[in-house]
Structure formats: structure tokens, C-alpha cells
Symmetry: C2
Subunit: 403 residues, 2 copies
């Protein structure tokens, strides 16, 4: 990627070509642009016949100037049982739903510090989300929470989920409740392949019935190299989700059920400044499956935790943390082909979205407030609240306003 300064027109042309191959977003050719006096005026362009590369890109932006897909946010402490508790991990809050006048949230809970992979893995706890179960809590106001107890425990020894169940999402559908979540069975070694489990109940207070088998598994087409427990060394990487299927979230959509998830690949690399993280979707006719992975996967080449909500006949998705499209809100008409609607400065981690707000009120209604988690330290995480605000246009004599 060394491009040397040189004044020869021939070399400059070659350099321009080289640059085209190395930048992260294509600047459109002038022939692709729809240049109107309104847009030139909106973008403060000095001369319509002398367009900088930045102006050419900006001429592709929407001309309604709308901020409805953009947000800023703040986080705050919760009260009651979800306040930080020494020695306890509570993380990865589910979406919020409301039942009998109370908000409900499910989350990963474990106790004690993590030991890492250096010791006796069959006895120790490798990650904060290892040796976890799914617990739940309720609240009248979304701020003060009361822990209600265990919702979905790890399986009995020998079951596919006997090591840990964690990172859950809730779906309410036709009077029934569905929790999908990550599971690990057997020893939690570095190369273990996790899966996705499902539990259902007639009430958000349970009792929960677990699926006999996982509803989603990693692709089986990667090949590890050697016997060392090293996830970066492979003969063949396989599909984008050949190692892990994370952060499952099921959305009822167009008469089917769309299970969005984060894939991790065997032989993961750091690419373009972030982890090689991608999103996929698997689709079923019924809530319990079978879920079939889309042939169009991956549906995002950036992002981390799944955060999706229905809007305007399509599905919106918040993309954070990894990849060149980090910190964007995207939307698709079909749950597959996501377009970038906005770029945000940052976002809360591991969002538990607020499904008690009508998502059709505005594009980001589902993000108006909800839950997130924060690392107190590498061992312990706790659940906090977040609120978003939209920066709106200046009003008469005022400064920039927020909504």
C-alpha cells in the first residue's frame, strides 16, 4: 500500500487506480450523480462544476436532511436487584416486554471470577458467561428491578447445554413466550462449538420447556489445524459461522420467524481494524423451527451483538464495534439486504431493546430507552439503563435541540 508521490501524469493515473483499490467506500463517478440546484445548495458546494470527492459522496445522501435515523445516548445505573453486585455477573439483557403491568427482562447470570483457559477447564470457569444460567427480573418503572429467580438452567450432565446457557432473547408470539439463547455442552475449551437453544412457556414466569436439540449450530465446513486449542490456526476457515453462533434473536416477520445471529469463524482474523464478525439469518415457518440459514448470509460484514427491530415493513439493525460499517443503523425491506441509514458516534453495548414501545412510531422508537451492560472489570459485568436522543433541527432562536 505504498503510494509514492510523483508528478508524472501517467504515474498519478496509476496511483489513482491503486487508491481505488484500497479505500473503504467508493466515491461515485460524476455520471452516477443526480445533481440538482437544491442539493448543491444544501451541501454548501461552492462551484457545481468543481466537485471534491467528498461532495460527490455527499450528493448521494438523502435530500430530506432528516435526522430520524440518527441518535446519541447516555447510560445510567439501575436500582434494586440489578444494581451492581460484588462477585456476581449479570450481563446481556434480553429485550424488554411488558406483562401484567410489569417490565420483564432475562439475562445471563453467573458467580465468581473467570479463570481463563490455563487451568483445569473441567472444573473452572473460563469466561464470565461460562457456568451461567438465565435469570429474570421485573420492574414497574424500568428503573428499579426485582430479581425473580432462575428461568432456564443449564442442562443435566450429558445434555447439549450442560456447561452454560447464556445471552438470551425473548419473543412473545400468540400468547406464548420463547427464549432463545447460546449453549455450550461439555468442556468449554477454546475450540468448542457453541449452539443455540430454545425454551418456551405459556407465561413469562414459566415454567420453561427446553428444546430437545439445538435450533441452530455453526457451519460444519471448517478444519482446525493441529491439536492445540488455538482458534486462530486452521486448515480451512469454513463459512462465516463455522466456529460460533452468538446473540440469537428471533423476530416474527412476514409470516415467518427470522433468527438473526452473529457468526464467528474458525481462524478468525483482525481485518480492517476489527474482529472478523458477521451477521447471518436463519428462517423458519414456526417459532420452534426448523431454522434454515439464508443462502444470502452473511447479511452484515460488520457489527457485534445483534440488535434488530421491525420498522415500516422491514427490519432495522444496529451495527456496532467491528468492521468498516461499525456504528451505523441499517434497514432492509426484506430482512436480508440491509442499507446504511445513518452513522452514529457510538452505541450502548449488548442492547436489550424496548419491545414495549410501538416500533412504528419512528425509526428509532425501539431504542428510546432500554437496557445495556457494562464491564465493571474483566470478571464482573452488570446491567444498566440507556436512553437515546435524536438531535433535531435548530429552532428559532435556540441552540441545537435534542428530542
Amino acid at each position: 500500500m505504498k503510494i509514492k508521490n510523483c508528478l508524472s501524469p501517467f504515474v498519478v493515473l496509476a496511483l489513482t487506480f491503486n487508491l481505488t483499490a484500497t479505500h473503504i467506500q467508493k466515491t461515485p463517478d460524476i455520471s452516477e450523480l443526480d445533481i440538482t440546484p437544491k442539493k448543491i445548495d444544501q451541501l454548501g458546494i461552492t462551484n457545481p462544476d468543481k466537485l471534491s470527492a467528498a461532495s460527490k459522496r455527499a450528493l448521494m445522501w438523502p435530500d430530506d436532511l432528516s435526522s430520524e435515523w440518527f441518535f446519541e445516548y447516555n447510560v445510567y445505573d439501575l436500582k434494586g436487584d440489578l444494581a451492581y453486585e460484588e462477585g456476581v455477573v449479570r450481563r446481556d439483557p434480553s429485550a424488554l416486554i411488558k406483562h401484567s403491568g410489569k417490565y420483564y427482562v432475562w439475562y445471563t447470570k453467573s458467580v465468581g471470577p473467570r479463570d481463563g483457559f490455563g487451568g483445569d477447564i473441567s472444573k473452572e470457569k473460563v469466561f464470565p458467561w461460562d457456568r451461567s444460567d438465565i435469570w429474570y427480573a421485573t420492574s414497574k418503572d424500568g428503573l428499579t428491578w426485582e430479581e425473580q429467580g432462575l428461568a432456564v438452567p443449564r442442562g443435566e450432565p450429558g445434555a447439549y447445554d450442560d456447561r452454560s446457557v447464556f445471552t438470551t432473547e425473548i419473543m412473545e408470539w400468540e400468547g406464548k413466550y420463547y427464549l432463545c439463547y447460546q449453549v455450550v455442552g461439555g468442556d468449554y475449551v477454546v475450540r468448542v462449538k457453541n449452539e443455540v437453544g430454545l425454551a418456551w412457556a405459556d407465561s413469562p414466569d414459566g415454567p420453561w420447556t427446553k428444546s430437545k436439540e439445538p435450533i441452530l449450530s455453526p457451519a460444519d465446513n471448517g478444519i482446525w489445524k493441529g491439536e492445540e486449542q488455538n482458534r486462530f490456526i486452521v486448515e480451512k476457515k469454513g463459512d462465516f459461522d463455522s466456529h460460533k453462533v452468538h446473540d440469537p434473536c428471533i423476530i416474527p416477520y412476514k409470516g415467518k420467524f427470522y433468527l438473526f445471529y452473529k457468526g464467528e469463524q474458525m481462524g478468525e482474523e483482525i481485518t480492517w481494524g476489527g474482529r472478523e464478525i458477521r451477521h447471518g439469518v436463519a428462517i423458519a415457518d414456526n417459532p420452534k423451527g426448523p431454522y434454515v440459514k439464508s443462502e444470502y448470509n452473511p447479511i452484515s460484514n460488520s457489527g457485534h451483538e445483534i440488535c434488530v427491530w421491525p420498522y415500516n415493513g422491514g427490519i432495522a439493525s444496529l451495527i456496532t464495534t467491528d468492521g468498516p460499517e461499525k456504528n451505523t443503523v441499517q434497514w432492509s425491506l426484506d430482512g436480508i439486504n440491509f442499507e446504511i441509514m445513518s452513522v452514529v458516534k457510538g452505541a450502548p453495548h449488548a442492547i436489550g431493546i424496548n419491545r414495549t414501545i410501538d416500533p412504528e412510531e419512528e425509526p428509532l422508537a425501539a431504542l428510546r430507552w432500554g437496557l445495556t451492560h457494562q464491564y465493571m472489570n474483566p470478571d464482573y459485568q452488570y446491567i444498566r439503563g440507556f436512553k437515546t436522543r435524536r438531535i433535531i433541527r435548530h429552532v428559532a432562536a435556540g441552540a441545537p435541540g435534542t428530542k
Copy 2:
């Protein structure tokens, strides 16, 4: 922007068209893509003939997987005279240069709280950077600083810079030193048009000689509406820099001098979630000017403070805070046509870049460490340090590493 869910193919086509007009980045058509087995493999694409919109965009990304344009960062407190001081504003640090074994930095200094625009503007201080002068400090290690005193004071009453001089940048060129900075003359009313001044010296310790006239002024083609001191109400907005010219930074480049600056427009709006902030450049044959604004302005339609450095025969620019291209590092071969090289999670504010490091070592060498400012509260800001790190590829058995 209401798109209703509908199953008629005709309407779906119309909706797709509508979507094209509203998203922030164009997804390339398949005909524009250079699809190679290597890229398909790199991106973890399941089926090359079933590409999601995200995969189409990702196929435009560079295929070297390099992270050299990407960074993360942390900030830290300084020691000595630049540590936070109650009742004193120190902000907008210049670039760092080295002279006689010491680092030098210049910055905006003022005292006392801000009063806003509600009182007697002729006597009060409207902003933290109002009634400021340019001071400087030196350090042997970049961490502990000794304030050396006043460098460039406000002008005498009646001068074009008699109200405040602030937000400075340093340029060293052929043994001479140049400070460019913002100036306000007369009352600092809401609608005041600021300008850019220049001072030069044979030594970084001064004495400094000020230019008799500003070297850059706002465009003179906007028209305010009414007499109220309201910057949002206009008959005509004028050019992107019709109200303010901010954050000047001069770079010697290709035998000329490129003065990069932030423009603010009369009748500024909130567009796409941020302030209507754009960058321009003005070019001179000599350090003292005259500086002529480029016909290609604006050269960025996003961003806030100017942060530019030479690299590989071109100019690199960090774009933060406002607009859809916020949090990107860009590079141009000509100082005009900037392309997006990376997307970062965030960046230090108002960076004072480190010009003591050879910028050619790697794309982000100039950002390896430097100074930034932070708001202790709306009245008082102080200067802090920052360090960046690059996330590099996984090494053998290790976790993600940083450099």
C-alpha cells in the same frame, strides 16, 4: 419517508427506488463488483451468486485486510502546569513540535466562567474561548508541562483581533515559526464573523509579529434575516463558510501552503444527525499568504476540528463529530479529493497532532500520541494527553493484539 409494507411486486419495486433515495451510502450494483474467489473467501460469503447488500458493499473494500488506517485510543491526565486548574480555561492545543530538546505546545487560555449572550456582551465573556489569548508551554517528556507564558495576545482596542485570539496551530518552515489562529474583533455577538490571523517569529519562544490583516475571512455572500442576533435565521445562507472560519491549520505541501479550516454557515441546520459543519482549504505560495480558497470547497461534508497531516505524497485527515462521514480517517493525493480509508469507533477531541514523529513511518504515525482537550464542565476545559493503538492480526496462540 413512510414506506408501507406491501406485497405487490410493482409497489415493492417502487419502494426499493424510494429506499435508494434515502440511505446514506450507495450499495454498488453487481456489475460494479470485482468478485474474486479470494474476496469471497475473505468475506465469508456463503454463495457467490447470492450476495446480500452488505456483501456487495464489502466486496468494494480493500483486499489486503490491513488495519494500518484504523485505531483505538485512550486519554490521560498531564502533569505540571497543564493539569486541570480551577477557574482557568486551557483548550484547543496546537500540534507538538520539538526545539532544543523540548516539546512545545500553544493553546487558548482564558479565565473565569462564561456568561453567555444574555447580558452585557461588551463587558462579559460569552464563550470559554472568548477574551482569550494564546499561551504556550514546554515539556521534556510530553507528560509534565511548564507554562512559559503569553505568546500572542489580543490586539489593542480597535484592532481586528481586539476581542479574542484562540484555537491556534503551529507551522515550522525554513527556520521560522508561524501561528495561525481564530480572531474576533469588536463585540462577540451571535452573528459576529470571526477571521483567521497569523503571527510569525524566528524562535518558538517569540517574539511574535502579527499580520496587519486577517489571512482568511468568511465568505461574504450570506444575508441575515431581521436584526435579532440569531444565527439560524437567514434570507440566504451563502457559502459553507459564510459565518465562521475555524480551526485553521497550515501545512507546507507541494511547494505551496495549504490552510485547512472548518467552515460554519449562516443559517446552520442540523442535518443527518449533526451540525452542518464542512471543511475547506485555501492555498498560498508563501506562508504569509495571500490565501485563496479552493474552487473545490468544501473538501469534507462531515467533521469538526481540523486534524491533518502529510502522508505518502498526500494529505491525511481525521473527520469527527458531525455528518455522515464522522469517525473516518481520510486521505487525498492532492489535498482536495479525500477518500475514506478507515472507520474508527471515536477519536480524541480537538487533537494537537504530534509533528515530532516522522509521519511517513505509517499512516497514523502522526496520531501515535499527542494532546487533546476535555470539558471538565461547560465553563472550564483542560488539556490532556492521548495515545492511539492499532489492533493487529491475531498472533499464533494469543488473543487480539494491539500495537
